[in-house]
């Protein structure tokens, strides 16, 4: 033991990282590919069952590919749709890591977006360099505070966050309906429940409009990418992230280690809500330009699937969000080119998630393409 070189040798081997195994590669690459294929086949069966003819089905799958990846416009649409999903998904993923099952992203998106709009038109005279970032920030803060309510309730009284966030969602819908009737918020000269528009100086500039004015991809893309990096840093590099993860995995150990559970819960919820709020803000500042009833359009719920599919890892969430964005954009194209109902996309989405999230199922369906596992394998 006292032999210095043997100790160094020991240390070196302890510090060597293990290489990624074949099964990890399969889970990360092979399974998703199979999943998409199987889901499309199932989608085809559904269409056949409802009397759609083969030619149309073929056309619709071509459209799906074309609409999600096939052109600059398609890519732009895919990314545009991905931005809010990834942002909100990052928030949810962070919450999951901290052991919080936040169903409330939808409400946080809604109120965050509304706050960004209100801030934008209230301070419309500020210059772009100030107003746009501050409007985003306003969205993030309001989203964060709204989520923190659920966090604080859990920390103070143990109220289950699933219930409180479901309720806060429902409350936010009503609150928005109410706000949109208020003269200060309602669009000038209209009685409809639509907010005033976001001034140009608060908008996330479109990135590709020099190419074609219809390309909607906006600067929210950078917000999204920055958020991916930030969340990755928070979770895996920062002190608070360590506390989030420890509390999520084993609250007893976290308490033993001196982490304040209440603080961690509120902070994690707040951060998650801020990201969801940012999702709402980027949607109104980049795409919609105003708030209206239900403008969040289930982003917060889809983001749950995105976060879970991305295994609560920022990179995974990025890819899952882009996949969902692609399905959305491609689904629209299916409707345009083949006249297939857009509801079909929801079915295909669901199937893709099933197969990605259940590698065992894909392995069962496609026994080939995977290395055979020894009996009693190490799947734990």
């Amino acid at each position: 033991m006292s032999d210095l070189s043997s100790i160094n040798e020991q240390m070196r081997s302890l510090l060597a990282r293990t290489a990624r195994g074949r099964s990890e590669f399969e889970d990360l690459v092979v399974v998703p590919v199979f999943a998409v294929v199987v889901a499309l086949i199932f989608g085809m069966l559904v269409m056949l069952a409802t009397g759609v003819d083969i030619a149309t089905i073929g056309k619709s799958f071509v459209a799906l590919a074309k609409g999600s990846l096939g052109s600059v416009n398609a890519l732009s649409e895919t990314l545009t749709a991905a931005i809010p999903l990834v942002l909100a998904g990052l928030g949810l993923g962070l919450g999951f890591r901290a052991g919080l099952f936040n169903i409330g992203a939808e409400g946080q998106v809604l109120l965050g977006g509304t706050a960004a709009v209100i801030f934008g038109f209230t301070f419309h005279s500020l210059p772009f360099a100030v107003l746009m970032p501050l409007s985003l920030l306003a969205g993030a803060i309001v989203g964060g505070l709204y989520a923190a309510i659920a966090g604080a309730l859990k920390a103070a009284t143990g109220a289950h966050e699933v219930i409180t966030t479901i309720m806060l969602n429902l409350i936010s819908f009503k609150l928005l309906d109410y706000l949109l009737r208020q003269p200060y918020i309602q669009k000038e000269g209209r009685a409809d429940p639509i907010s005033k528009s976001v001034p140009d100086a608060a908008q996330l500039p479109r990135l590709l409009d020099w190419l074609d004015p219809n390309l909607r991809l906006h600067a929210g893309l950078f917000v999204m990418l920055a958020a991916v990096v930030l969340v990755w840093w928070i979770l895996f590099r920062s002190k608070i992230g360590f506390a989030f993860r420890a509390s999520g995995e084993n609250p007893h150990a976290a308490r033993y280690a001196g982490m304040k559970s209440g603080l961690v819960i509120v902070a994690a919820m707040g951060t998650a809500g801020a990201l969801a709020g940012l999702a709402g803000a980027s949607q109104v500042l980049g795409v919609l330009g105003r708030a209206s009833p239900g403008f969040s359009a289930d982003i917060g719920f889809d983001a749950i699937a995105v976060a879970l599919l991305g295994r609560s890892h920022p990179l995974g969430i990025l890819f899952a969000g882009i996949l969902f964005g692609g399905l959305e954009a491609g689904g629209r194209q299916m409707q345009v080119d083949a006249g297939v109902s857009i509801d079909l996309i929801a079915i295909i989405q669901a199937l893709i998630i099933v197969f990605i999230a259940a590698p065992l199922l894909v392995r069962a369906i496609f026994p080939w393409g995977f290395a055979r596992k020894s009996k009693g394998g190490s799947e734990v």
Binding site: G158, I163, L170, I171, K174, V354, L360, V380
Partner: protein, 421 residues
């Protein structure tokens, strides 16, 4: 426990619960002030609650409540409860005091809102029951699943599937056919959920989310492709209210409990059966053991996977029954997303009801009450905007969950997959 010497009693031992008791005391006193100053009713104004409807067999007079005295008494009671709670800090009484306090508040609020007006109390109670049905059934489905440690986020989707099937098959084969089909389809989704999470070890939450997405997509797709074209496929008969002789004529309570349709009776019976099953039978004992400590159950020869399959499927069937209520028990036709999130509220009711069938039913009734109350208040022209009235059930839930329940304990293995070696 141990003999505490006399000097201990004199010193202040601050416990978490004592602090909570004091907070509740403060809240109650604040409520008393609220009733006194905000909900104050002008002298001589009366609130009229109609106990009978014109066609009832036994007609009772209206319940006329003098507003000012009533609310003064309510404020006094609240203040008494609050001060008592604050000074004594009796831990055991905290929840009870808060519950009673909230009930008093609701009554005072009703009297204030109804001052010089009237509404039908009987109708409100009946509506409470009706509105509670799908939530209670959703909650019961959740109880069956989570008692064997499978989290069922898919209740919403199963309700929707039940509703859709009820409408489709009900249109083709009549109400009973539709009902059976809805239950079977709900059960199949339960089976699918079980297969995904038990056999394929998929994350339970993802599996649930997916089923919701899938059902919403499929039903919307089919209803827009098929129902829009062939209307006759979406025109199912509705199970009518069936009044139980005599009992149904009891004033106030009768219409609520004994003059309802199949689904209300079904929900009540299912809750009773599930309670009996879970807590008084062999199967229930095994199911709960699987939910609490699957390995222990396994070592005793209880088949964990089989038990989970069976109960999740049963849960799906209950949800399918609850879903059929939307079409066969209410409106006779399907419409996209017609369950409108009731499954999630059912989930909340399950947690709120502490994973107990009766608890879930009670929670659902609280929802139903807040919901029908909200509708009445909207008619009474209170100065509160309708959106805020509509929030009432949700806010009430948050308050109750935060104040009364605290940390409810889920089955210990809830949400965790079980891996056999």
């Amino acid at each position: 426990m141990s003999a505490v010497t006399t000097d201990t009693t004199s010193e202040k031992i601050a416990t978490g619960k004592a602090r909570q008791a004091r907070i509740v005391g403060g809240v109650l006193i604040a409520l008393a002030l609220l009733v006194l100053f905000v909900l104050d009713v002008g002298a001589g104004q009366v609130a009229t609650f109609k106990l009978s409807r014109p066609r009832d067999a036994i007609v009772l007079g209206d319940l006329v409540v003098p507003g000012q005295p009533f609310n003064l008494v309510a404020a006094a009671l609240l203040a008494f409860l609050g001060v008592r709670q604050f000074l004594r800090g009796g831990v055991r009484w905290t929840s009870i005091s808060l519950g009673v306090g909230l009930a008093i508040l609701v009554m005072a609020f009703l009297v204030w809102a109804t001052a010089d007006k009237s509404f039908s109390l009987t109708g409100m109670l009946q509506a409470t029951m009706v509105r509670a049905v799908p939530i209670a059934l959703g909650g019961l489905a959740g109880v069956l699943c989570e008692r064997v440690a499978v989290v069922n986020i898919a209740i919403e989707g199963m309700l929707l599937a039940g509703a859709f099937t009820g409408a489709l098959i009900g249109s083709l084969l009549g109400g009973w056919g539709g009902l059976v089909a809805a239950v079977l389809v709900g059960g199949s989704f339960g089976l699918i959920l079980a297969a995904l999470v038990v056999t394929f070890r998929m994350d339970q939450i993802i599996a649930g989310v997916v089923i919701n997405l899938f059902v919403l997509g499929l039903t919307s797709y089919v209803s827009s492709q098929v129902f829009a074209e062939v209307r006759s496929l979406n025109n199912a008969p509705v199970f009518r209210a069936w009044k139980i002789p005599l009992l149904g004529d009891i004033p106030v309570i009768g219409p609520m409990l004994f003059n309802q349709n199949l689904f209300v009776y079904g929900a009540l019976i299912l809750v009773a059966v599930a309670t009996y099953y879970l807590f008084h039978t062999k199967g229930g004992l095994r199911a709960r053991a699987v939910g609490e400590h699957p390995r222990a159950a396994d070592t005793l020869g209880v088949d964990v996977y089989w038990t989970r399959y069976v109960h999740v499927t049963l849960g799906g069937m209950v949800a399918g029954f609850g879903g059929a209520w939307f079409t066969l028990g209410s409106v006779g036709r399907f419409d996209e997303n017609m369950t409108g999130g009731r499954g999630f509220i059912g989930l909340a009711a399950m947690i709120f009801g502490r994973w107990h069938p009766v608890g879930a039913l009670s929670a659902a009734l609280i929802f139903g009450f807040a919901d029908s109350l909200q509708q009445k208040l909207a008619l009474l022209n209170t100065p509160i905007p309708s959106e805020f009235l509509a929030m009432a059930p949700y806010i009430a839930t948050i308050i109750v969950v935060a104040g009364l329940i605290g940390k409810a304990r889920a089955p210990a293995a809830d949400g965790k997959p079980y891996v056999k070696e």
